[in-house]
Symmetry: C2
Subunit: 168 residues, 2 copies
DNA sequence: AGTTCTCCATACGCCACCGTACGGGAAGTC
DNA sequence: GACTTCCCGTACGGTGGCGTATGGAGAACT
């Protein structure tokens, strides 16, 4: 899913890639959707772990920077939000996406409140930041050559951080 | 493509939907990729038309607001950039996406220069604005319920406009 | 030692879609 | 009026994927 999206989760190609067969797969999983469900549960755990890791950073400003940093330099497709947004009509994907995203935005909003924003502004800002993160992830996947390279990459990252710095 | 992405461009379903048959299709188009190519050429024209329309707005600040407005309230999936970003590895899609996007960012950068930004900052800002636009489009498509509704929608729009206002 | 349970491979039918072959009618052309 | 060109429909083969049926080898239990 990270590499090639939801469509790449196909039973037969996966079995081939793992050197096994469909017979094995359908013993472990009811069907394809069950595999997707299991994968998304892993994603939820991962997402929780990331938030826990971030929560250990006591300085809220530093925490915000850490998150931006992650959006830029995290592993390719570290976050599958974009893939899920694209496939949000899928009956298994939709609920997961909504749950996790709502949680993340709420989390970001509370971070922004710590930084001195009023509740409404905090949520607006969290939404905006999330959109930027989604945009970055999508561009990194689809048109990375348009992103600044090398030294300019750092400069751009700082630019985004400054842009997203909450201003009470 | 607007409604359901690149994967929805399928010869047989399309023929069915148009009340015709594949035989007809393959007379007009060499193959599926040729149709995609033709569709993307339309998209380029549309994109050019949008930039021309925006160029008629003399006040650059007003022009920026108009573009943000468009990102929010334009027709659903008005811009297929997100779809194309997701399918950027497709041999027909990739070149189109790169060309149009590069052009748009350059266009945005020059707008930002008009507003008083230095060339590098202008380009950085245009990139940032493009990412926000992409993020908005993707969220509008995949999780519109997370966006503020009604009155709050306008407030959020203004918030984004303020966030993206170039600050020389 | 026999039985049951676990795990996996082979084989099959089904569906959706791509692209091609071919035929035939309608419309224009000489 | 014969001929060609345009446009489209039907039929076919091929590919890739899903899910099921079935059998079988080995482990585990009794």
């Amino acid at each position: 899913m990270r590499e090639s999206g939801l469509g790449a989760i196909a039973v037969e190609p996966l079995a081939e890639r793992l050197g096994t067969t469909k017979g094995s797969f359908y013993w472990h999983f009811k069907d394809r959707d069950a595999l997707i469900h299991a994968a998304l549960e892993l994603w939820v755990e991962e997402s929780d772990a990331m938030m826990s890791a971030a929560a250990r950073i006591t300085d809220p400003a530093e925490r915000g920077r850490w998150l931006t940093e992650f959006a830029f330099t995290g592993p390719q497709g570290a976050d599958i939000s974009t893939t899920l947004l694209v496939n949000s009509t899928h009956p298994v994907v939709g609920p997961f996406l909504e749950r996790v995203t709502e949680q993340r935005i709420a989390w970001g909003a509370s971070l922004n409140e710590e930084l001195g924003l009023a509740p409404e502004a905090a949520r607006q800002h969290a939404l905006a930041a999330w959109m930027v993160a989604v945009g970055i992830a999508l561009v990194r996947r689809g048109a990375p050559q348009l992103l600044p390279q090398g030294d300019e990459s750092d400069a751009f990252k700082r630019y985004i951080m400054e842009l997203l710095r909450p201003r009470p």
